[in-house]
Amino acid sequence: MINVRDLHKSYGANRLFEGVSFQVEKGEAVVLIGPSGSGKSTVLRCINGLETFDSGEITVAGIGLHSINRKRPMKEDAETIRRVRLKLGMVFQQFNLFPHMTVLQNVTEAPIRVLGMGRAEAIAQARDFLKKINLEGKAESYPAQLSGGEQQRVAIARALAMRPEAMLFDEPTSSLDPEMAGEVLSVIRKLVDEGMTTMIATHEMGFASEVAGRVIVFDKGSIIETGPPSQIFTSPKVLRTREFLNRVLGRF
């Protein structure tokens, strides 16, 4: 479903990726962990075409993003990136809801304007999604009237409304306090249980071990270890993985 091969990217002398490769199968839930700045967020942004990369290849549902991701993409390239984005739902750390639209408008805007869905259908679908995240009562509220956790759940509903084939979560709970993070994580868990292909960059190790089919550990722009959570969290093979988990979990 998502195929990343030999990804290289640098900012001047600063090397961000040095040959990152991995694959995500349909229905798989892959969790990316690693220290801040290790590249786990950036790789999600590369997949979604929000960041450029220098060399390597990214393929999403058969659409390739290898040679085109330059500063000023040509028209056809921009269209390719857009086709990739239509396959993917993206959820950001900062929610990025549209503040001038109500919750309902946030969820119906893209289906109507991008997919050309009928207004009535889009609204009916949005209400279904809002029900699923327990926010059907907030349809007419503006984002600023919601808590952080509620905003993030709306952001998930907004992405789902585009019927993506996979969901990318870029540290979805990092700016939330634990209680609100819980609401958001349970929504993500439900999605994974329903079989949605999912990539999650997160610092929530408990959640990662519980929801992940596979864990990928990033450090300094490389993948240092990958494996099922049972193995990564109990008996990591790589020293740096062990050190990282030590720091965040205070054990080993």
């Binding site: 075409g49 929000l50 993206m90 950001f92 549209f98 503040p99 805007e109 503006y142």
Partner: protein, 498 residues
Amino acid sequence: MSRLLKFLLLLAGIAAVIYMAAPSKPKESTLEKIKKRGYLLWGSDAEGGAPYAFPNPKNPSKLVGFEVDLAGAIARELGVKKAVQSQNAWDSLIPALERGDFDFAMNGIEITKKRMEHVLFSAPYYVYTEQLVVRRDDSSIKSVADLKGKKVGTLSGTVAQDILMGMRGVNVRIYSGQVEPYQDLALGRLDAVLLDLPIAAYYARPNPALKFAGPPVGEGLYAIAIRKNDTELKKRLDEILAKLYRTGELKRIYEKWGLWNSKQDKLAAFFKNSGAETLDESRSAPIKNFFPMLLKGAGVTVLISVSSMALAITLGLMLTLLRLYAGPPFDWLATGYIEIYRGTPLLIQLYILYYGLPNIGISLNPVMAAFLGLGMNYAAYESELYRAGINAVPFGQMEAALSLGMKRGLALKRVILPQAVKIALPGITNDFIALFKDSSLVSVIAMVELTKTYSMLAASTLRFFQLGIITALLYFGMSYPLSLLARRLEKKLKKDRR
């Protein structure tokens, strides 16, 4: 960015419409045009004032003056119904005539060699002299010969100015209105004023603080200025002036205005009891007489401001989009436009649009020039406001919109601009109020709006204070509701941000 292409096409369309709206070069002779039109259109500056052509204090929407009478007589002789005055700043009457704004110019225009290079002159209709005026208590200046080392005021572009400039050691102060020199003289800012006798007779003689010094000097001739190729019109005007002189009608007009045989001070007796408007009468006319004209001026001001603001807002938005998203060379073209328009005075831009473009064959009418001048200037400022607003929208908004599969244009329209406009709105309304007041600048390109109406009325009545307060109140009465409206709009838009 096909949307941008559309914008550019639209711009080209606007340019085409403007070009077509511009008056085309005259093909038929002016004489034929007058006949066809049914009235005579003559150029003069009513702000130049009494006694040539100025708003009647009793009924300010009507012009009076000896040249108004003369124009009426000429129209009658030409066999048309009436003569209509076309307002134009005095020092640009000749360029406006060359542009074809009116049939001929008649406004105390002296025959000079320099002017003869540009226009044809009719036979002279008045022999003027220059009159020196000093303060009543000043006995040190008895004639033009005593002016060495003195501060002497006169009008820009007059023969009096040439006389003064030709004398050594005189400190010449140039004015653009004929009232101000006498005011400054009375206040002691000047030692003397040298101006055409008709002006001195109207403005200086009734002033008890001033007196005439010495005999008139520098005889010269007023004549009607005609476009170079209008020889036919010139011939006809010469015949008419000769007839008016023969029949004594010319004399009657001048007698009515106290100007006949004007080298003699004793002719002032005619001036008093002639039935013509005098300065004393203008001063005592009830102030409400001036309201209709001021209100009409205010209407023109509103029209110009609203339409040019609409242009500024749309053009400004295009500039911002070009600058931020179009890529080279459009981005630097837009940046260049903005910097040039912000870095040069609006007044110069207006002059170039109205008086400069005809040199290269593009002649805009005053309304179009004012609309374009103000709108294109303010577009540069609006564009910067939009840019600041767009930059203030968090980058994550664009990313979120793109990741939902929106194209850049759609994301801009639906997500970024609505938020950016909200941020820019206080600045935009502020600019609208500023533009509203800046619209007074278009009076230099022959638009008779509120400020121009004020200065015309004030110059002929000397009621600068009362009329000034009323005019200022009119401006305030229009701009204050605007700020209230803006505040309400801001509050309403803020709601969803809470």
